[in-house]
Symmetry: D3
Subunit: 273 residues, 6 copies
Amino acid sequence: MFYTDGKLQYPVRVEKANPLFARALQQAIGGIEGEIRVAMQYFFQACGARGDPKFRDLLMNTAAEELGHIEMLATAVALNLEGAPLSLKEQVANDPISGAVLGGMNLKNLLSAGLSAMPVDSDGVPFDMSHIYASGNIAADMVANVAAESTGRALAVRLYEMTDDGMKDMLSYLIARDTMHQNQWLAAIEELGGGQGVFPIPNSFPQDQEQQEFSYAFLGFQQDGSDPVAGRWSQGTSIDGKGSFKAGSIMPMGEKPQLAPAKPRGGAQKEQM
Amino acid sequence: MFYTDGKLQYPVRVEKANPLFARALQQAIGGIEGEIRVAMQYFFQACGARGDPKFRDLLMNTAAEELGHIEMLATAVALNLEGAPLSLKEQVANDPISGAVLGGMNLKNLLSAGLSAMPVDSDGVPFDMSHIYASGNIAADMVANVAAESTGRALAVRLYEMTDDGMKDMLSYLIARDTMHQNQWLAAIEELGGGQGVFPIPNSFPQDQEQQEFSYAFLGFQQDGSDPVAGRWSQGTSIDGKGSFKAGSIMPMGEKPQLAPAKPRGGAQKEQM
Amino acid sequence: MFYTDGKLQYPVRVEKANPLFARALQQAIGGIEGEIRVAMQYFFQACGARGDPKFRDLLMNTAAEELGHIEMLATAVALNLEGAPLSLKEQVANDPISGAVLGGMNLKNLLSAGLSAMPVDSDGVPFDMSHIYASGNIAADMVANVAAESTGRALAVRLYEMTDDGMKDMLSYLIARDTMHQNQWLAAIEELGGGQGVFPIPNSFPQDQEQQEFSYAFLGFQQDGSDPVAGRWSQGTSIDGKGSFKAGSIMPMGEKPQLAPAKPRGGAQKEQM
Amino acid sequence: MFYTDGKLQYPVRVEKANPLFARALQQAIGGIEGEIRVAMQYFFQACGARGDPKFRDLLMNTAAEELGHIEMLATAVALNLEGAPLSLKEQVANDPISGAVLGGMNLKNLLSAGLSAMPVDSDGVPFDMSHIYASGNIAADMVANVAAESTGRALAVRLYEMTDDGMKDMLSYLIARDTMHQNQWLAAIEELGGGQGVFPIPNSFPQDQEQQEFSYAFLGFQQDGSDPVAGRWSQGTSIDGKGSFKAGSIMPMGEKPQLAPAKPRGGAQKEQM
Amino acid sequence: MFYTDGKLQYPVRVEKANPLFARALQQAIGGIEGEIRVAMQYFFQACGARGDPKFRDLLMNTAAEELGHIEMLATAVALNLEGAPLSLKEQVANDPISGAVLGGMNLKNLLSAGLSAMPVDSDGVPFDMSHIYASGNIAADMVANVAAESTGRALAVRLYEMTDDGMKDMLSYLIARDTMHQNQWLAAIEELGGGQGVFPIPNSFPQDQEQQEFSYAFLGFQQDGSDPVAGRWSQGTSIDGKGSFKAGSIMPMGEKPQLAPAKPRGGAQKEQM
Amino acid sequence: MFYTDGKLQYPVRVEKANPLFARALQQAIGGIEGEIRVAMQYFFQACGARGDPKFRDLLMNTAAEELGHIEMLATAVALNLEGAPLSLKEQVANDPISGAVLGGMNLKNLLSAGLSAMPVDSDGVPFDMSHIYASGNIAADMVANVAAESTGRALAVRLYEMTDDGMKDMLSYLIARDTMHQNQWLAAIEELGGGQGVFPIPNSFPQDQEQQEFSYAFLGFQQDGSDPVAGRWSQGTSIDGKGSFKAGSIMPMGEKPQLAPAKPRGGAQKEQM
């Protein structure tokens, strides 16, 4: 269950409203690496967490924090949009600046939301909840969370570099929180056994039932028959500690597939039957 | 550039065509953790890879392999669909089995694809390319790839458990390849410096510009004022080796936000102005 | 800013786990009239609320409550899924029940989420945040909220009728909350001036700038030339109190449109130029 | 069944073609508050209308009118696009205006549609038919229609303010029709019994089966224990006339949820079992 | 502009309501090859038609007819849904039939639409207007229309084979109309010059500006160096009459691409710079 | 199964990096008429091809070629993005050019992909795999392929006209390949019997089971009762050679539909029962 006091987790200050930066900030709200994604991802992972309840608590608490980040960013977007013109002023040709501002901003923020934030990305594409990765496997979830916070911090850094406004202060806070969250989910992986304990995910599948000849083989294609690109992935003990890497050319073990002819009354051409 | 010889990477054998299992297999084609996702994700990461070209080669070769996995699974779906009835035979009530088969399968596989595979998931939802994570940050990409292969292997294991058919053989091969691919991307992370070298991602951002007071602090909420759930994330050196974990209560540092009144001719109610 | 204590707003009891009902409940989570929609809609309306701050408070508090409803429903889904089989057991024909259960449930709940809830509707379609109506016009938002709670309560009633389980208790609570929320947003409309005060929305546009001849005219088409279907909408004072209804035949005031020929090098056929 | 004469309901005049305004107009075609939405919403509500057939007639007639509005707007978009350049002319830096025009317009209108309108919004996002609210409950449908026409009129007003072209004339007509349609659906609610007759929707559910203790209680959270924000929603007779508003603090009646351990062969980590 | 008389173009008779067939029929409404698609495709092509106005008339008239087909199918869906149970009746195990019916139908038709049709496909996926192909090139549009009517007729034939109900009568009418519409758009191509006149589309691009060496060459890959699969496409005059087919092995003319290093403050890893 | 050598099919040269043209090129990658679409469409058609295996070979080989086209275009996008600024430089007003560049480009290419290509269209909308038309009917598939290559070539021509860069060279190659692919699929139709052999699609449905009275009748609406617009479609032998065109007024053969009253406990208003 959730509570709110309507206050911001961290102050949001905009010195010079910039509708184009408002559009950029939308990526941090409704982009696939944005705050709606992590808030809802941790929320659904928490709701489905089976096993030690501490992971549910960890996830749900962080979900609550991320909801507060959406609130901060939505406030920042609304404040930046206060600089937007409402009209085209006759012709773009006579007034290039206002045309460029309207042209460069996300027009839905004005037309559809009346100068407010929306759950869309920087191109106005709505966030789609299929990006909520909650697999029922706690280790896979933790890796997905590290991934989300990695792309999230890359985005926050790019926004930080884009602006010279007071917005830098808010972003330096969000970058710090992303640092923590990357570490937090890595710490959870450590609690679950670390690299050699959790991989390959899921660790509950008996590996003698997989085709082990191919479990640690890097396969690639070279027209001259030489081995594919070498690296840590082609030699040495595997990272999960359960095999040894090797490398080889990829080649077919199967034949060209043969499907049955089309059924007589199934809407195919008669030549296919 | 790509080549094909039309053969299958591994044999695909269906003993008893089962349209419901065809629907389940669709998740491995068009689900968010399926093969289209990894094939296209590695492809786009390769196309945008800046820096050491070996990562481009590694990614593009694995993309090619995953395309072959889609081909295997699409063949498996088509073969399983050959058991589907084409008609409802009067009434469901009189013939519960054919009703259950048609009811349980993805009807589009019949109506729209004529008993073939489609780029959709097990509920018939088309794959959406926003799931292609290619961030321009090679380390973030590698973590995203470990995540993709972790949920992918969990899915393959669930499919393996669901069937008693010859399909188990093909799936045991795909499970092995997922083992390799998890290890392969982890190996790439090792080449990039390992945990303490790559995190926090991006490692190019100077950490003295983030609000470091919050960079390693786990924040949660307890109504009785006690600390939030303890774990590896609340004490000890951080996983990236650059700080020490601490824990505390989450609390607002900002106030309730204040937006300006609505603009006079901006489509708001006059009470908002 | 948000807090959570991890507890449920109302007890969730499942007596007999039913995976098909789990699928039905998914509509109340990720359907367009479900709880993610209202939680996020009130959240974004709050973030963009300009004018009297009490509406921001009202909206944000109710957003927090709705988050708790998602949590309740996600718990209910996970508990109902505990009755799902993991395998097809040879052939559907030999075991119609397990086939029907797997066929009737949302397979992603098993394959992709490991028997947990997902942010999808009852057909497995992910929720799409374009359904968050937050217009920057507080009255339009309130009407959208009444609409959301009306379809939401219709859905809850249908779920209540579908089950005979302890689930009825949880649903009777949610139905009551929907009753309140319908009334609450209607009360907000009353605070904003009631029907004659708020309509036509937006009330800030000077009506002498609209083509008033058509502002209160019901237009329809009858092949015999008679008036279209009569009702309250075709006579009497308009509901907003600012005009009188009349009725008439719809007919074109414009001509067939004439576009310029295609530009010479714009990718059209040469016959279009 | 539908007929067309190819003429426009109201004249469409563009004095100075403006591709950026074409992009803005796209919101009124393919935005969630646009004309495709209302046309198709009334159409599907009509097709599913059970009960008094006059509502089917009312809805289908208005659907036909809204189709004509799409036609008007699509014509307006095509005419405004006739001002678009087809080439970048060397460099944006040397020719800021043509760059700004191409940069500010929806590029798909040129690249994909050859300077014609598309069923997309002002950011080029295609309309998605999940926005067609047709609930099978006639009162819920009418409220949804008032909501659609309220956001629709807010949009039309914003477009009116944005332009100084002859487009203002067409928009003043559409604004008037939105005034009528808001009133028309409110009139339909009056025919269905008015506020006290239709609410809570659905009015067919016996209220003694809902948890009536919570049916008229506004719940919010204040850290200091005081009541949440007061207003018409916290006291007095409820708007539906069937209860009395009260207010209180939101608090959990349930416990932390407990899910069963993960099933042995279900793809979870072994630590979860 | 559009008119309606509320009547059906052709009678719709359901003898035995079948909710599973209702789900199948949904594909003909909201599937990518369904009636919403063709209605809206012809509508938008008409709105953007430049050149001889007879094509606008042809397209808009057929759009109107297709709207009537949606109406017929929506009526058929609603009538078929009248056979759906509203409750699960205790346990699926005790009542396999009602469970199979609810499990096999599109649950949203019941939960979200109250036993009415929706603009979704047979798996409950909403129609997405990006499928409206209207290219600004009249010949490309006509080919797209032939494609739409070809998949549409295949779908109608499959539905015809699936049912034994009076529904066969309605479907035999729709199949006939699809026959006409395929021929109608082929006739339009003939008016535009026929195969040798319209191809390659667009015919307005001067072919001496394309790399003509590759304009009629079929390229494929054989590991043994032999030519790829032979057919009409590898020899003889090309279908557009403007070249001669030849065949050859596909091979790279470019090198491995080289991107610049990542920019210093662009969110990449420092190893990429 | 697929192989890659990491080289480009044709050289990709960018002389003057232009982020706005990068955005335009995205349409050729992730637009509905772009290269992902054709690559995946031919791939899935191949996987489901029943009948003569030469069509599978033809399709799979061309799928491989199209994958190489995505690679070329993704390289071109990345190279063009190298001209993008990373920051807003204080205010748009002071630096209109950098503002216009950032405003005109797809911001996700910078924020989310670090100056790389993405599987999105020119407005940043992700490609959605529902556009993969693979019907199980080989003739319908071939027509869909001609349609795809027709819109694809129109797009390539528009891109060619938009740029003055070395990009013209790459585009002239892609235009030539589109010429070939249009002809190639037309050649496949010829192999399948040509117009009179393949139409109406599917040619396996016995036409005496369709309502033949309407199979070759063009229906339209004229208010004055005259025939609808005349053309090749209203007279002469039909294109499929199996009938004669005629024309007539469209008119209803059915009545207004009558649905049953709403069920008592189905969530409708009581007035509907």
